[in-house]
């Protein structure tokens, strides 16, 4: 049986530095690349049509703008992998959203003018800025509320290994993962959309699971070796004992997400790709933060707490 004996607590400065650098890169790239908010959050309209033959993009743009009474639109073309046809996308940002009447008119005008190209509506999204903003805020509240409940749960279940402090460390590891996922979206130029929220929330559950498996072992070892080992030694032992499990579980879940990613690339399904790719990154970050950040950080914070209140030590 393979046994690891890595000094995770001793090497904590290396891990903390790596994490701080990654977080800094994520935040800095926000300013360098800018954040692309999806229209789901910022409001606007996106309409995709399939067409045959050739279409002059500039002329198409002009037609759409005229049909909408001079609203500025952006037109891009692409290829739809699942049907093998060409597609053309109209996007516009508006303060009011496009009413269904206007969209109906727009489609009619386009279908009439480009009758030879047998235009077909594939997908359309129209969201007013106020409901987009509200959706975004709701997501943030959901994440915040989930974090609070997780801290409470850990505080109760892990009373004998410091409770609140352990919970706080677990949540710090979670925030770490969320920032890295966010950084992935920014660096890969993917827009922040509903998938982003789904990934964040999945990683919340996944990463906390990893952290808890380690905590569970610390809780057990604490009872066994309380008298003979220091806290750092117990934590190191626990992390090493659960390391094979952490790696193997990560292999299975990450392999699953990689398969999904590859199939999504082959089929050209962006909606799945923008879900599975950040998920892979988030899962790697999740297992890393659980192993290398949460528990070593707990050792450090617990040490600081004891120094402040020497009388409290039994």
């Amino acid at each position: 049986m393979r046994k690891f004996n890595i000094d995770f607590v001793g090497k904590r400065k290396v891990f903390f530095t790596i994490s701080i650098v990654l977080i800094a890169v994520s935040i800095l790239s926000t300013f360098i690349f800018g954040v692309k908010l999806d229209i789901q959050f910022k409001g606007g309209t996106l309409i995709t049509y399939l067409y045959d033959g050739d279409i002059d993009t500039a002329e198409f743009e002009k037609t759409a703008e005229d049909a909408l009474g001079g609203l500025a639109v952006n037109v891009t073309t692409g290829k739809d992998f699942s049907t093998g046809k060409n597609n053309i996308q109209i996007s516009l940002v508006s303060n009011t959203g496009l009413t269904s009447d206007k969209q109906y008119e727009l489609s009619n005008v386009i279908q009439e003018k480009y009758a030879a190209n047998s235009i077909e509506l594939v997908e359309s999204t129209d969201i007013s800025p106020s409901s987009g903003k509200e959706f975004f805020q709701k997501c943030l509240v959901a994440v915040a509320f989930a974090s609070i409940l997780l801290v409470i749960y850990i505080a109760v279940r892990f009373k004998n290994i410091g409770g609140w402090l352990a919970g706080a460390c677990a949540v710090i590891a979670l925030i770490h993962d969320c920032i890295i996922v966010y950084g992935t979206f920014v660096v890969a130029h993917m827009s922040i959309n509903a998938n982003f929220m789904a990934v964040i929330l999945t990683i919340l559950g996944y990463s906390i699971n990893d952290t808890i498996i380690t905590y569970d072992r610390i809780r057990e070892n604490q009872q066994l070796y309380k008298k003979t080992m220091t806290r750092a030694e117990i934590v190191n032992l626990s992390i090493n004992q659960t390391l094979v499990r952490s790696i193997n579980t990560s292999i299975t879940t990450i392999a699953t997400m990689l398969v999904v990613t590859i199939v999504a690339v082959i089929y050209g399904i962006d909606s799945i790709l923008s879900f599975s790719l950040p998920m892979v990154v988030g899962m790697i970050s999740g297992v890393y933060s659980s192993v290398c950040i949460a528990s070593p950080l707990w050792v450090v914070l617990e040490g600081i707490r004891e120094k402040k209140k020497p009388a409290a030590k039994k």
């Binding site: 049986m1 739809d80 992998f81 699942s82 049907t83 959203g97 009413t99 269904s100 969209q103 109906y104 489609s107 077909e120 509506l121 594939v122 997908e123 359309s124 129209d126 969201i127 007013s128 106020s130 409901s131 959706f135 709701k138 959901a142 409940l149 997780l150 749960y153 509903a194 789904a198 929330l201 999945t202 919340l204 559950g205 996944y206 699971n209 808890i212 498996i213 905590y215 569970d216 072992r217 809780r219 057990e220 004992q241 659960t242 094979v244 499990r245 193997n248 579980t249 292999i251 299975t252 879940t253 392999a255 699953t256 398969v259 999904v260 199939v263 089929y267 909606s271 799945i272 879900f275």
Partner: protein
């Protein structure tokens, strides 16, 4: 668990196998052309609009209009009636009274390639206010003005029933498509009074749908029997359409779309196919990995994970009579994948623990027993935290009348129902999958492995990853 006997493995294995087969195929009894679904199979799973295509639209009253609860209720009734008239039966429609929103979601009409979702939504949001007005005074843009604007004779609510007819309006004209109105008592009286007055004056009555005039017949008789006919160059379809509109009633105000999205079925079908292929490949990879790395416990894990997947699908398809089927979306499939990942994890934790106990010199029975016992707290805590996240998702993105939305309304009270209800499906499959994991990944795995370890040929510690010294 020391009492687990040898046959337990076979009982659990056969039960899981039978269950899985019945979940996949369901049970439908065919008698001639009649089919009765007794047990719903995978084919009965209802997919969300992101997979089979459809329309998701949120209506609000126009700016400056503050709708009352009654108005919203009646608006919902009208929209539902209009969807039925359009042949859409598999719709969802909710009202959110806090933010004055009406959320409508319906699938692409099956078998209709040229279904036009844009015009369908446009029709749903129209006021459809039928009016009979005195005279036919119109301004330059064709909208009623003067006495025609002031004197409304009849409204949609005076009509008891409308239907399309094919008849001649009077003896001199040829037969044509018309809309026949049967008025209620109040309407009959109002119409009789008005026709009497206008007949004497030789005036006419104009008939309007919202701000569009349909026709303006001259009053040629006093009508007291409560029957009115609308002429206006109809064909079979358009006369029926107008009759349907009148029957489903008028909206209290015009509805504008706050958000509106459509997905064509071809786009979603590709996504579903990709997810199914990815799922099968991933499952095969995991099965190989588990059996190679963990041997016997790995093989047992594959059986219980199969059961977990089947049970999750059963909850989605409505296999269990006591639970309604729920709608499966692409994020929902992701939720299943994640829950399966958690199920694999539970088995890995246990197998690792058994290996460790063997390595520490325990006997096989002792190692299996304490391996499960010690792994359990970790699995429980990990799963409970994931369920917490899943429940918050269901509360935040569920429909207004679902249990978790009500439960968590104290958190999300300031928000309206958002349009991304698809995330709800993720929360649902994740929660169900993780709870099932406690049954399959913990209980079934334990029963099967403990009973297998009683067989003589299964007692070699190497099968459990144990070292030579064990």
């Amino acid at each position: 668990m020391r009492k687990v006997k040898k046959p337990v493995f076979f009982i659990v294995f056969i039960l899981i196998a039978l269950f899985t087969v019945s979940v996949i195929f369901g049970f439908t009894y065919y008698y001639g052309d009649m089919s009765t679904v007794y047990i719903k199979g995978v084919n009965n799973i209802r997919f969300g609009i992101d997979i089979k295509g459809g329309v998701d639209v949120t209506f609000t009253p126009p700016e400056g209009v503050d709708a009352t609860e009654d108005q919203l209720d009646s608006a919902k009734e009208v929209i539902v009636q209009r969807m039925i008239n359009l042949g859409i039966t598999d719709y969802e429609c909710y009202i959110d009274k806090n933010t004055d929103r009406i959320i409508v979601r319906f699938p692409w009409k099956e078998g209709e390639a040229n279904f036009d979702p844009e015009s369908a939504v446009k029709e749903l949001g129209e006021t459809a206010q039928l009016t009979f007005r005195e005279g036919d005074e119109r301004d330059s843009s064709g909208v009623y003005t003067g006495v025609t604007a002031e004197n409304v004779i009849l409204e949609g609510k005076d009509v008891r029933q409308a239907y399309a007819g094919y008849q001649n309006a009077d003896e001199s004209s040829a037969a044509q498509y018309v809309v026949v109105l049967k008025l209620n008592d109040e309407g009959t009286k109002k119409f009789a009074d008005a026709t009497k007055k206008l007949y004497e004056e030789g005036g006419c009555i104009s008939i309007w749908m919202d701000e569009t005039m349909i026709s303006a017949p001259t009053v040629s008789a006093v009508i007291t029997d409560g029957n009115a006919i609308i002429e206006g160059h109809f064909d079979a379809d358009s006369s029926k359409q107008l009759a349907d509109k009148i029957n489903s009633g008028a909206l209290p105000f015009k509805l504008v779309t706050a958000s509106f999205s459509t997905i064509s079925p071809s786009l979603g079908a590709g996504a579903l196919e990709a997810m199914i292929i990815a799922g099968i490949i991933a499952f095969a990879l995991i099965a190989v990995f588990m059996i190679v790395v963990y041997r016997l416990p790995g093989a047992v894990a594959v059986i219980s994970i199969t059961g977990q997947i089947a049970a999750t699908l059963a909850f989605v398809s409505g296999y269990f009579g006591f639970m309604n089927s729920s709608i499966l979306t692409i994020p929902g499939i992701a939720g299943i994948i994640l829950a399966v990942g958690m199920g694999v994890d539970a088995n890995i934790i246990t197998s690792e623990r058994i290996k460790e106990e063997l390595y520490n010199g325990k006997t096989l029975d002792g190692a299996v027993n304490s391996g499960f016992k010690r792994a359990f707290t970790a699995i429980l805590d990990g799963n409970v935290t994931t369920v917490i996240v899943a429940i918050i998702l269901m509360g935040a993105f569920g429909t207004p009348d679902s249990i978790f939305s009500k439960l968590l309304s104290f958190v999300f009270f300031m928000f309206g129902q958002s349009t991304a209800g698809m995330i709800y499906s993720f929360g649902f499959t994740l929660a169900v999958g993780v709870l099932l994991n406690l049954f399959f990944g913990v209980l079934c795995t334990r029963l099967m492995l403990t009973s297998l370890s009683k067989f003589r040929i299964m007692r070699n510690p190497k099968l459990y990853g144990g070292g030579k010294n064990a």
